[in-house]
Symmetry: C2
Subunit: 698 residues, 2 copies
């Protein structure tokens, strides 16, 4: 009798606590359970293969009982969603949103506190989050530790960077998980401010490939009023646990019920292209909170920027500060970049070549002593240098039909930026600047806060909200990396938040594989202002004897406009360098930045990416193909083109002897007529790429 | 030979390093020296008596060599100043500024770093500061410890409160220095947020009296971009050392040469009245940075405020939040105070009785959940509750000729206030509010910062600067205590920053001696918005059974308008309470708040204060006399009155059987004719006071 009772009890227990939810495709399954201590856990399978093995969920709360065990399931609820929506700007004109949801309501029996765990399973992967309902037993609370685990099945190959609370501007490491070790990294990498959370702390999005060919990605979506999630890796059992960036007093998150955490995401596929083309991060974010989005526009732009990176000019008025001496502090004397005259030159260039905008950095006072001193008041965001006639410039730009992009470098002095923000934005309105590039180089003030902590996440979300009130667009640099929040605030059109092209101008740079990894990592969260288009590839043109260079061929720089999605794309090189290669420059002039459709044709993280996209406003298609340090040949079917239409294909490809290191500027341009039945033979040099424009002929 | 050389060397050494500077009166001498290790020190004497014995000066700097020894004197310079200036608002119309200065320039021989120590010796005491000149060897630096000492000569009687980085709202303790012990204090005192720096850390201004009758005060002036100075007391040898409020990362001050520290002050006299009437703190501050000061006006005001303290109404719309339940969190339901109707009632009352302004607290959204949760976004400073028609109210006030005082409670969420400040101030301009009362109840955000740290000092100085751009006046509550900076920003017209009258409404309150100490401590730094004038003294009127009360007689409440200087004075009680005592209320209606002249007639810290002041805009004089818990009689000569003039003196004095505890509301009003040759016999009840108006008859 006793045996039978026990068996019955166990049976009832499992009925009450085990829950399963599958993707619409039924390829992905998520199982949720409570263990014998009432600890919640989940696992994930893909096509019957284990992806995430049993992994615990829960929290430690400050000055309150742990919130990770002694739970009972008091309700569970399933639902399905299948609809679509139109992003303001995007890779596709219409986004499908199709998932099955499981909401498990838990009661902690010892404390009567409640939390819901919600799983949404898309064909691309799983999103889950914690929802703390309004309740008497849990009002204001502080997270000391988020215990969410992602326990992996083996020693996958990983594309990882250190879990740094202040920077993501690292070169990716490609190693098995067991070889992750921040202590063994060469950190002489051009990153000025590093705050690595520990030896085995790595960043999300974490892209992996299992030995049996599954592409697995751990990330998050909709990080709002919560710190960025890094990952603690156990190199022995390949368990990952959430590692949240702390705040100035060492706590992780100050919360107030009702509160929903960000979504934790597990994407999985046996086809790498499906990771690159996922839309679940956007789908897990809230719809636009901006009613009138008519003023949110894509932009292709040039600017006074690369000059300061290669050392030709300075940010400050007296000519002492540029990227060449930013870290060395060496004394230099060069012309100031942001003069009225030079700005007019860029405006003329933009007009002549059909660019929408001109960015000018170094226009405002503060640059003379801006960096490295954890200084509270650096910039006021309204006072131009005497040689920058902002009124005359804004009038001239208006006459030429060119939009000016404001620059607000903060030097990390965020308290000061918030103090001055309204005035800075009003100044933009006054002079007709529709967009601002913000910058956060340096240690954060409020002192003790990190770029990835809750305080700064809130700041990075606050600026676009405030800017929206003035109908201004935002492009943040050195912010925390995006998690799809631009769906909700679509005027937040781009961010940097990864190692951009600029590092090639004054450091060990970005290896050729770098841009093949970004679509699997940083770009999953949103558009990146990578600033491609560097034609003058070797820095010894500017700095005799330098072996620094962009790790690319010229043709690859063109392909990046397609492979690295952003509705805000810079043609980053100097006008005079484009004028030397007017034929190749034509691609940058032609390429679209906002898209009707996107097809990921080929993709392998760390190796290659080939993407075709259709302009949102025409029948033109564009294709970009890039490779890593290895030359590559492939054939791609052009079946994405409209059947029955003929297209003029203009193909910008690496020269026969092109090579990123020894012959980067060699390229060929050929034109042919193609249809949807054609195949295109791609031939990419080491570190090279191909860019193609398709113009319909009928 | 050898002996002689040594003797010569010592001789030269002393000539080079020993310096003396005296007050213009020659009563005070300061001696500066270097010891054999090159450590700088000073001492102070008064009329030949030692006041400060040899006390070291210097700093520990973060990540840099100590900056406190190995100095040589490279220059010393003496100068004298004797001029006068007119404060915008003040206790006197003209302030004399007369001091002798010694500037000693020091070179740290091991590091070649320079610092100047500047002493200014007034007849009232000594001010000295460190001036770090611009130099190659010291650019940006961080103070880890300020080693400034004030070594006292004995176990003086001290009026002290704990060195709390977040609050000064303490009752003063009157003990010998040797009995200071924060651990023995009863901290059930109504202060919600306490951050005491250590067992023997006490606040400056520190008022003391030596056994041989010297009144000695340690304070500071012109605290700008630097933390507030508390004092580490050694209870064995009576040495005091600077204890600066730290910032969120544990550092004390982020500085950039050239930089001058605040002035450290030692006031000394054998006449207590000279401490109360000192002007050296103002003289040590910079002149006004506001060119047009015509809009800076004194104000006597009433407001919707005390109702929330005694529990009659609430700050929030739904009636759940007032001072009665702020700390208990008990559930209450009372009417909302800041309604349009109630505000109009106060406007009518102000107009009828000749008050300049009306303060309204609880007018804006956020109060429903404002306190105690270290919450980032609480108030937006622009959105009124639905029952507060800000437009109608501002129009009505304008019609009645009454000025509205805006209230900006921040809940300590300073980052949020700075984010919203421009909009909050613009909102004031829009509705014609000329002044704002700011509030900082609660833990500071940026988290980890204290009210007294460098970050918050900067904030408290920033708000009046920003407000000045909109021609708005500022009155801060729960700010760091003033140090005369209102000379530089004269629109910063008042502050609370000590235990105000409000504590009598809902806590153990302020003992009768409290207001006799404030002129020797808090008021040395600037005007205090103490909010006197409570006529309904016992709280059992509002809360049956309560033994809480204002520790005062009614007549003393009148006297406080004279003894506690502020150009912004509230008549804090409810209109209906004033209407019950219209005869006594006449004094509040008559009393001036901005002054031509001030005479401190009698003063003893902790015992009594008697002050006479002449209205800046008439020939009227007003006199206030207060005592502690002991009844007191004295005679004061009226020789401050203009000779040859006759005055009608209206004397508001305690009733014969008045007593703060048992019979506080008993008062007598009598009128007599006096001249400058008259004497006035004062008879103050226990906890009582006398107020006198003098109106010229010819």
């Amino acid at each position: 009798m006793k045996f039978r009772l026990t068996a019955l009890f166990i049976f009832v227990f499992f009925v009450a606590t085990a829950q399963t939810v599958q993707s619409p495709s039924k390829e992905i399954s998520v199982n949720f359970k409570l263990n014998s201590e009432g600890k919640p856990y989940y696992n994930v399978t893909y096509k019957g293969k284990s992806v995430i093995i049993d992994s615990y969920l829960g929290f430690k709360l400050k000055d309150l009982p742990d919130f990770d065990k002694n739970f009972a399931v008091i309700n569970s609820q399933s639902s399905s969603v299948n609809n679509e929506w139109k992003p303001v700007l995007g890779e596709v004109a219409v986004i499908k949103n199709n998932y099955n949801e499981l909401k498990v309501s838990l009661l902690q029996q010892s404390t009567k506190r409640k939390v819901d765990i919600v799983f949404r399973v898309f064909n691309e992967g799983v999103g889950f989050r914690y929802e703390f309902p309004k309740q008497d037993q849990l009002d204001y609370f502080i997270v000391s530790k988020e215990e969410t685990q992602f326990n992996l099945t083996g020693d996958h190959k990983a594309f990882w960077i250190p879990g740094d609370y202040d920077s993501q501007e690292y070169v990716y490491n490609e190693t098995p998980l067991s070889k992750v070790d921040n202590d063994k990294l060469n950190l002489n990498n051009g990153i000025a401010l590093k705050s690595v959370g520990g030896r085995y702390v790595i960043q999300s999005p974490l892209m992996m490939k299992s030995k049996d060919g599954l592409y697995i990605n751990i990330f998050e979506a909709a990080v709002i009023n919560y710190p960025i999630m890094h990952l603690d890796l156990n190199i022995n059992n390949f368990s990952l646990t959430a590692n949240l960036a702390p705040n100035a007093v060492g706590d992780l998150a100050f919360l107030h019920a009702p509160f929903n955490t960000p979504w934790r995401t597990v994407m999985v596929s046996d086809d790498a292209r499906k990771i690159v083309s996922q839309k679940m991060v956007l789908n897990l974010n809230e719809p636009s909170k901006i009613a009138d989005v008519s003023w949110i526009k894509p932009m292709k732009y040039v600017g006074i920027w690369w000059e300061m990176h290669v050392g030709k000019s300075s940010w400050d008025y007296k000519g002492s500060q540029n990227a060449q001496n930013q870290q060395t502090g060496a004394s230099i004397s060069v012309p100031h970049g942001a003069t009225t005259e030079n700005t007019k030159r860029y405006i003329d260039f933009a007009k002549k070549n059909g660019f929408d905008g001109v960015l000018v950095e170094g226009w405002n006072t503060g640059w003379e002593d801006w960096n490295g001193h954890w200084k509270d008041e650096v910039f006021d965001f309204v006072t131009p240098y005497p040689d920058f006639d902002i009124k005359a410039i804004s009038e001239y730009a208006k006459q030429q039909g060119v939009k000016m992009i404001m620059h607000h470098e903060t030097s990390g002095a965020v308290a000061s930026y918030e103090r001055h923000l309204d005035r800075g934005l009003e100044n933009m309105v006054k002079y007709g600047y529709p967009a601002v590039k913000t910058g956060y180089v340096g240690r954060i003030i409020p002192r003790g806060e990190y770029h990835d902590g809750q305080t700064m996440v809130n700041h990075f979300n606050y600026v676009p909200q405030r800017a929206a009130e003035y109908k201004l667009m935002v492009n943040s640099h050195e912010s925390s990396r995006p998690t799809g929040v631009h769906r909700t605030w679509p005027n937040y059109i781009a961010a940097e938040a990864a190692r951009g092209n600029e590092f090639n101008g004054w450091s060990s740079g970005n290896p050729p594989a770098h841009e093949t990894i970004l679509p699997f990592t940083r770009l999953l969260g949103g558009p990146m202002d990578y600033t491609p288009g560097i034609f003058e590839i070797k820095m010894n043109v500017y700095k005799p004897g330098s072996d620094e260079q962009v790790h690319t061929t010229l043709a690859k720089q063109l392909a990046l406009y397609v492979t690295l999605y952003s509705p805000l794309q810079m043609a980053a090189d100097l006008p005079e360098n484009y004028e030397k290669h007017a034929d190749a420059f034509q691609f940058i002039k032609d390429v679209a930045v906002d898209w009707q459709d996107t097809k990921v044709l080929e993709a392998e993280p760390g190796d290659y990416v080939t993407i075709a996209r259709k302009d949102k406003n025409s029948e033109n298609w564009f294709l970009g193909a890039i490779t890593d340090e290895h030359a590559r040949e492939s054939k791609v079917a052009l079946d994405f083109l409209t059947p029955g239409k003929k297209y003029k294909a203009v193909i910008y490809q690496d020269g026969k002897k092109a090579d990123w290191k020894n012959n980067p500027k060699s390229y060929e341009i050929k034109t042919q007529t193609v249809t949807s039945k054609s195949e295109l033979k791609l031939k990419l040099a080491a570190g090279g790429g191909t860019a193609v424009s398709f113009f319909p002929l009928n």
